[in-house]
Symmetry: C2
Subunit: 428 residues, 2 copies
Amino acid sequence: MEAESVVETGNRTRLSRRASWAGGEPIANILMAKALANPDIVSLAAGFVDQQSLPVEPTKKALDHLFADRTAALAALQYGTTIGYPPLREVIAARMAEADRSRPIDLDRIVVTAGSNQLLYLVADSILDPGDIVICGAPTYFVFLGTLQNLGARAVGVACDDEGIIPEAVESQLAHLAARGESARVKAIYVTTYFDNPSGSTVSADRRAKLVEIAKRYSKEHTIYVLEDMAYRELRYYGDDVPSLYSFDAERTHVVAAGTFSKSFSPGIRVGWGILPDALMEPVLSLKGNIDFGSPNWNQTLMHLVVAHGWFDEHLEKLRATYRTKIDTMLEAVDRHIAPVAPVHSIRPTGGLYVWLTLPEGIDTGVESPLFQAAVEEGVLYVPGGYCYPAEGCPAARNTLRLTIGMPDCEAIERGTAALGRALQRVL
Amino acid sequence: MEAESVVETGNRTRLSRRASWAGGEPIANILMAKALANPDIVSLAAGFVDQQSLPVEPTKKALDHLFADRTAALAALQYGTTIGYPPLREVIAARMAEADRSRPIDLDRIVVTAGSNQLLYLVADSILDPGDIVICGAPTYFVFLGTLQNLGARAVGVACDDEGIIPEAVESQLAHLAARGESARVKAIYVTTYFDNPSGSTVSADRRAKLVEIAKRYSKEHTIYVLEDMAYRELRYYGDDVPSLYSFDAERTHVVAAGTFSKSFSPGIRVGWGILPDALMEPVLSLKGNIDFGSPNWNQTLMHLVVAHGWFDEHLEKLRATYRTKIDTMLEAVDRHIAPVAPVHSIRPTGGLYVWLTLPEGIDTGVESPLFQAAVEEGVLYVPGGYCYPAEGCPAARNTLRLTIGMPDCEAIERGTAALGRALQRVL
């Protein structure tokens, strides 16, 4: 091989169109690079879960149980099926029906995936062609925006308030797209129904019913699916559970519900699931079959034991107490360190991992902004809200930011929030 | 919602083009449906691994070790990174360099995936647009053919013999495609270099060097990658290891090497990896970030402990002995039960899980053939060779079939092969 062609090699790679659509540097990397300037920085940005409460003991109990039965251990080490381990799918179905007080859920509609995120990816890839549209909240979960971008799909944002995505805003956007002759492009509405990432809002029961009704009414030439992301459902610290948006779809034809044990148990074990309309099962399983033949059997067996023996619920109770203290700490710290500095709005979440702040208009939170720079210097990292807005529809509010209680302990939450207050003071 | 529109719902789902390209019923399902006719059937078809030798004890040892260090256990239950757990990538790099006697491998070029299959999927999705071409052996690994179909890509088959894919056949196909003005479409050459699935052949060292040279020489306007599938490398029962095809790419610019612990340790834990040219790292990580944020940290930590403590190599030695006995049993059974019935050709594999038989011309092995029907009645299931051929290029040899030693024990291998001999006798 001649030296000249070796040198050129890097430039000659021709990626697929999809790869070329993918958005370069992940947000986490951009933020971490900025954080290097201050080694003592508190990250109120990282989407990790609480470290000290991770379920070492329940995991050990489940594995001790598994190793005590050699036949079961051997089976867990073997290949499973693409759709997933039947006993795990049974407990997922039973818990969902119980939480929703709904009729039983058909096991043939449940697929186990690598977290809820893989389920969202599989469904998106199964229904979206380049140029197709997904209606999202503004703001919305930024990783899903990356997935849509990678597929060449368009995310169109609609207004949200403290009760989540506004059905009337969804409907008016659908009508607007219809008027522009783009109805054929609209394939789905994406909504995180419990303790939204990033906004912390929970969609009210009334709105859940309306969203299903709107999706069905606008499903004219083809089905418009509602993708319900329930990743944080189990992390409720106050009040009562709300039936899933899925449960409002009596025919079970229009809603995809995605859940996960990543937030409620362990992201390192990474077991999630989807409950799908019948029409989506074959394409999703076909794609998953090509990607990984099904999620690791070992992890599915482990999660089944954890749930079936009641260790999951035991753990969840402790986890909720931990996070309840942390969210109280953060909300109290926001009241004490930030509210006196400037009028801020925050949805007061009753669960989940996120607090979303809207600062006074004109205060940009972006990574190149004076506020972000001041925050790094003062010792805190946050996620600029601008990353969480779809490219179309409702414009990005650049005076917003996301804080998380996931990784930091109460002391760090207090310290980080105080640092943000000082940073805000500096840029006013 | 009116009853009428409910009834129509199923028909109104509009899938993506990619989903519509996916090939309906998985082959395993088709075969299993046929097998229902005979409950005592021996499956020499299923792509599972040996059940009784699955590594319960090494897994337990690694987990005992992990649970003894609470900090490490907590970290394993937390999110990791998209590229994968650094200590695991280190041992993968070290083992690869040692096996190949090559210079060290840069950790930034290694990504951990859900088996080698996910790596192949990620690379394929990163480089292939619909209509793009991948050169494959004829026969080749049928799951990868499904992946290519799902991406709308074209698999073009070239001739193979007992030493694997024939470089001259690859070159003449490349020249043929160039003459037809399709060079811009050719993106990769896919080859399972060790104990091929389905043919059992191992590509000779001489051919490895030639394949790299050909890929480089034909990389004119853009890079043509060689996708080296090393899924069975560790399962060698006779003879010495051969350096990877990857090791013949001195510049490390044209070869993607995919490996896995699924066959050599446990498919239920499902940890694989890829070693990639620099230009492919960003697109592959971006796509993997959208799908699952990285493979489960727990499984990666476990596999690292298993390898680092030497338990993997201990296990591998026992596993090789188990499979050596099984492959000897199958080859001997073929000699005894099939060769006397009709002249058959088989590559005598020195490793891996597969024995590929070429029957006399004119004997169709397909699921609707008299032979398949007779085989089910006699009590054996095999994979018809026709599934393993790309749609273009070298025509399918319909008188071929794949047998596997993975799941069945020696008694079942003997019984299944004898049944195949009787079935063959019936259709001659």
